[in-house]
């Protein structure tokens, strides 16, 4: 909706920048720059840039910079190796003869239809389930982002940052600061004391991702990580994947639909009975 008052547009634009994770001084500077441009063009800012909130989200996304310095990791070292891994529940075979090798800085997509054993494979990679057959080798520092149920409904995002940071002995203040920086990269500014139960599905999923990444693991295991994301968040997610890859983090992402085959190094397709293609 176009606002008749440029000041109203200015206000909405600034609020939009802040909500998308832009720091207050930078948001103020960007707002003034946009208003100056509109004045110079002798146009209403909405006529020049479009709706304030939409333009704020676009500008915030473009302004995001890498926060984490690339880690000094041995380039290309193997972080995960599955050798003829299979899983059987009773007499039902859900996964069979899977071979996979993932190196630092690689992105691997595990695709397949519902019931193909994708989540089971990811839990085996994380060590939450034992493989019935075959051998699993992995580095010890792993981040796991489950499809659902990985957060407490009544805790705030900041409290989750503290809790998950504590697993790697990161202090409370540093955990919060890191979590908030990672949230800003996904276009989200967590509100203090807002419980997770009040977040939208997509925002919960952003929190899920941040908690997996918080301690900068060597291997990130993501189970359907962009469910509930809008188009912008989906683009932010793949931006994050590129950033992880550049910093040497290996990523295994499970999905039933892969829209971005160019963003991954390898695809492992699981057939419905559980074996690889």
């Amino acid at each position: 909706m176009k606002s008749a008052d440029p000041e109203e547009w200015r206000s909405q634009f600034r609020i939009g920048l802040h909500a998308a994770g832009v720091e207050v001084p930078l948001a103020a500077q960007m707002t003034e720059d946009a208003m100056d441009e509109a004045r110079a063009a002798e146009l209403h800012p909405a006529a020049l840039f479009g709706p304030a909130r939409t333009y704020a989200e676009q500008l915030a996304r473009a302004s995001r910079v890498a926060v984490a310095e690339p880690l000094n990791r041995q380039s290309g070292g193997v972080v995960l190796r599955l050798s003829s891994v299979g899983k059987t529940y009773g007499r039902r075979r859900v996964l069979g003869d899977v071979d996979l090798e993932v190196r630092a800085g690689q992105v691997v997509a595990v695709v397949g239809a519902n019931g193909a054993g994708k989540s089971t494979l990811l839990e085996i990679c994380a060590g939450l389930q034992n493989a019935s057959e075959g051998k699993v080798e992995r580095v010890p520092h792993v981040g796991w982002v489950p499809q659902s149920g990985g957060t407490y409904d009544l805790l705030s995002a900041q409290e989750h940052f503290e809790l998950f940071g504590g697993a790697s002995r990161i202090g409370r203040g540093r955990s919060r600061a890191t979590g908030e920086r990672l949230a800003a990269r996904l276009g989200w500014r967590p509100r203090a004391q807002q419980p997770v139960s009040e977040l939208s599905g997509g925002t919960k999923q952003k929190l899920n991702l941040i908690l997996g990444e918080l301690s900068r693991p060597e291997l990130l295991l993501l189970d359907e990580p962009y469910q509930g994301f809008d188009r912008g968040s989906y683009a932010d997610f793949w931006g994050e994947v590129r950033r992880w890859r550049e910093s040497g983090t290996a990523v295994v992402v499970v999905t039933h639909l892969l829209h971005e085959p160019d963003e991954v190094d390898h695809v492992l397709e699981l057939l419905p009975h559980g074996g690889p293609e």
């Binding site: 070292g77 193997v78 972080v79 995960l80 190796r81 050798s83 071979d99 996979l100 090798e101 993932v102 691997v108 994380a126 060590g127 939450l128 389930q129 034992n130 699993v136 080798e137 992995r138 580095v139 010890p140 520092h141 792993v142 981040g143 796991w144 489950p146 659902s148 149920g149 990985g150 957060t151 407490y152 009544l154 805790l155 409290e159 503290e162 809790l163 998950f164 504590g166 697993a167 790697s168 409370r172 419980p195 908690l211 301690s215 085959p261 991954v264 190094d265 390898h266 695809v267 492992l268 397709e269 690889p276 293609e277």
Partner: protein
Amino acid sequence: MTIVARQVLHELSRRKQMLALLALLPVAFYLARHDLPGQSIRLLSLGLGWTISTLALFVTVGAIPVERRLRVAGYSVLQLLGGRVLAVSAVGTLLAAAGFGLVIVDQALARHWALALMFALAVAISVPLGALLGALLRRELEGALALLTILSVQMLANPDGTFAHIMPFWSLRQLAAYVVDDESSAYLTSALVHAGITLSFLGVALCAISAVRMRIHKAERPEASSSLSSTSVG
């Protein structure tokens, strides 16, 4: 461990209705038999046991999905279990202290220290009892029904019968006799022995079940090279 306990307490503190009901249950037990002072103290201690074990059960079941994730993130079983037990014990101690205050104000008793011991044991036994049922059954309704069965049998069974002796809160009945009826120290001794055995059993069983339920399967660190490869799209 303390950060886990703190977050459990934060979560509990936001459930105001639940906290009110937690406080109400033991008081309701106490007031239900207020006409019989001794019986009201017995029921208050069992009410404390019931309410705290239910809290421990629900906290345990509610934490299962997140704790799997926290284990992968790097927490040990001891840190997660200890943090949870610490938090529920803190809430239980507050409730027990309130119950103690209520009795002291309301009734004339000679052995105040034994009353405090009785309520402390109610907390100490009910926390691992509820947590153990939660870890074993992993569902709230099933756990609540199991607790209902145990506590109902505890209240209905003849305290002198063999069946009552294997119930977890039998020691509270013995202590109640010592506190209320001024029975001999033999009641105190038998209560402490029973509580010691019960706590040892619950503690060992809880640690063992938690270690199995929350285990991370070990894997070797990968060697540098291999002939294996995944299916490549590139």
